[in-house]
């Protein structure tokens, strides 16, 4: 972000965003989470409190457990020790609680995971109709509203594989938004995209952040992180190494590992 106008826009955005994080309700509370894949200790005593309206960006080397942590928040992965409370509901073996949480938590994947046999519109209306029992017409209006918001209203009747990667990822975001989630999880949303398409997806995410969405983002897009993150998290070897304000995180990282990591990815 060397461009001065962008930097100006950034600081304006930041000022606007700062207003939003005043509420002190806890959206996600992760307490001493431990998880093993077989004998591999993938999450080691991870604790993280996400406040409502916060945008947390998690980064770290591959295999550090950041995606796994994210996937625990809607219990796509389960864990062996620790507690996760999402929006006041504790995730346990109780399927009802899990379903309740999943309805309120939207997720965007690295590989989009759109349903290739359904049109873009049907991708967006499936869950509202089948999970929320919304009438088809209402669901379609809702879907068109969010497709317009991610700026691809004209693609509604195409199939996902007819779209570019960036468009697919924006459909995935719209699909998640159609459930009116209180929290959005982003698992490396731009890692599978061609370089020219990264920006359109990030812009969409910045827009969401501006609207006050609680976001938990695993990403290495440091420009995006600087622009929207309320806090940065660095993970390594299954544990959280540093949690810090973006300014401190990028300019005066406290942990040696953070310094090393940033020196590797910021050129």
């Amino acid at each position: 972000m060397t461009n001065t106008t962008e930097a100006a826009a950034n600081s304006a955005g930041r000022a606007k965003l700062a207003m939003r994080t005043t509420a002190n309700e806890v959206a996600v509370d992760i307490m001493s989470l431990n998880k093993w894949f077989g004998i591999f200790h993938v999450l080691r005593d991870v604790s993280l409190k996400v406040m409502r309206g916060e945008r947390i960006v998690v980064c770290g080397p591959s295999g550090s457990g950041k995606s796994t942590l994210l996937r625990c928040v809607n219990r796509i992965e389960d864990w062996q020790q620790g507690r996760v409370i999402v929006d006041g509901v504790e995730l346990t073996e109780d399927l009802k609680a899990i379903d309740e949480v999943r309805r309120e938590v939207g997720m965007v994947f690295q590989q989009f995971n759109l349903f290739p046999h359904l049109s873009v519109l049907e991708n967006c209306t499936l869950a509202p109709i089948r999970v929320r029992h919304m009438p088809r017409r209402t669901a379609e209006e809702l879907a068109r509203h969010y497709l317009a918001r991610v700026r691809i209203p004209e693609q509604a009747d195409k199939y996902p594989l007819q779209l570019s990667g960036g468009q697919q990822q924006r459909v995935a975001i719209a699909r998640a938004l159609c459930m009116h989630p209180k929290i959005m999880l982003f698992d490396e949303p731009t890692s599978a995209l061609d370089p020219e398409m990264v920006k359109e997806v990030l812009d969409t995410m910045v827009g969401l952040a501006m609207d006050g969405m609680t976001m938990l983002v695993v990403s290495h897009e440091m420009g995006f992180a600087r622009q929207v993150a309320s806090r940065m998290v660095l993970m390594d070897a299954g544990q959280i190494v540093e949690i810090n304000e973006p300014k401190t995180f990028f300019e005066h990282p406290q942990h040696e590992r953070t310094r090393l990591f940033l020196s590797q990815i910021l050129h």
Partner: protein
């Protein structure tokens, strides 16, 4: 020397060279593109020259079209070489279609067929609306109506025992029941085998492996001759019903493995995407996973259907006469004993099997193309 280059004007797209387009291009590229291609093209032509003329001569040119008995189909009577003896098929046509179903009641079979066609055709044409109701009518209501019509004994319809059924009727009843029974059974078994619950998985696996491990003939034989020995005294199950159950379970086990293949082709991300949206197991399977899995294995499913259609003929060993059984029985008729009767009969049956199998295969291909939403590019 120039080492830099900047394009000033974009090149507009041009049509491809003439030699790669149209009939000429097709012939050059696909038929005579290489030495091997040319050899195969010529070989195929040769094969057609060898096979087609005798076939046409037998079926059409030398065939006898009118006649009342075997005499008309003898070379001595005709004074020329004789091909197919179609009057034989005409004379036996009712028997081939209906078996020994009483003649006065045969209208019931025709009504059943007509009803089936009326319900099936709109179901097969994508543009016709009300697919859900149509499907309920065809898969749910139609079998019940067909059962009442064919078996009778209610609504003033005289009872027709299934041992009088035969010919095409039996072939279609077994095939139809097998198809609409085996697909849902196969889907459930495949889900069971892919289940996370060990007991469900084990039961499904045992069931599938058992039915796949036993030959269909054994199943039919057991169902017909052994099962009654194990059933308590006066408990009788209709022989046709026994066969139908056997066929459905047998075909269901095969279908399960086909569907399981399709399930394996659905990426994990699809499950995760559906789960993250809050869809539970059955909704995820019903709306997201199964449609994709089944789409992947349409060729395998149709393969099973066609195999089932032709396997129905095995019911002959338990004295149920399907089309082929009825045909073979008719060869014994001395009124129609000619040197060409056998060939005529088999040609007739072959044409029927070929037409129906080919139609199924073509429709499946059409469905595959229609459902292709760009997964393969």
């Amino acid at each position: 020397m120039d080492t830099t280059f900047v394009r000033r004007e974009l090149i507009a797209p041009l049509p491809p060279p003439l030699a790669t387009r149209g009939m000429l291009g097709f012939a050059r590229q696909r038929l005579f593109g290489s030495v091997l291609n040319t050899a195969l093209t010529l070989l195929s032509l040769l094969l057609l020259i060898v096979v087609l003329p005798p076939l046409l001569r037998f079926l059409i040119i030398d065939a006898v079209w009118d006649g009342a008995s075997r005499v008309d189909c003898l070379p001595e009577t005709q004074g020329r070489p004789v091909g197919a003896c179609w009057p034989f098929v005409a004379a036996k046509f009712r028997q081939f279609m209906y078996g020994f179903y009483p003649e006065a009641e045969q209208w019931r079979i025709n009504v059943t067929y007509a009803l089936g066609v009326i319900l099936l055709v709109p179901l097969l044409i994508p543009r016709v609306p009300y697919k859900t109701w149509n499907a309920i009518a065809f898969f749910g209501l139609f079998p019940l109506v067909a059962f009442v019509l064919l078996v009778g004994d209610v609504l003033g319809l005289p009872h027709v025992e299934t041992r009088l059924w035969g010919g095409m009727l039996v072939t279609l009843v077994i095939t139809f029941t097998g198809i609409i029974g085996s697909l849902p059974l196969g889907v459930l078994l495949a889900l069971g085998r892919a289940s996370k619950l060990p007991v469900v998985r084990m039961l499904a696996t045992i069931f599938i492996e058992f039915w796949r491990g036993v030959p269909l003939i054994t199943v039919l034989f057991f169902a017909t001759y052994m099962l009654p020995l194990f059933l308590p005294g006066n408990w009788r199950i209709d022989p046709m019903l026994r066969v139908l159950i056997g066929v459905v379970l047998f075909a269901g086990a095969y279908m399960a493995e086909v569907v399981r293949g399709g399930l394996q082709a659905v990426p994990r991300g699809q499950y995760e995407g559906a789960t993250a949206l809050g869809l539970g197991y059955w909704r995820m399977m019903g709306f997201v996973i199964m449609p994709q899995a089944l789409k992947h294995v349409i060729p395998g499913i149709v393969n099973s259907f066609i195999a089932l259609f032709k396997d129905t003929t095995l019911v002959l060993i338990v004295s149920i006469f399907d089309l082929l059984g009825q045909l073979r029985a008719s060869f014994a008729d001395p009124n129609w004993a000619t040197p060409v009767t056998l060939f005529t009969g088999f040609a007739f049956a072959g044409i029927i099997y070929l037409v129906i199998s080919f139609a199924m295969s073509r429709y499946a291909l059409y469905t595959e193309r229609r459902l292709d939403t760009g997964a393969r590019r």
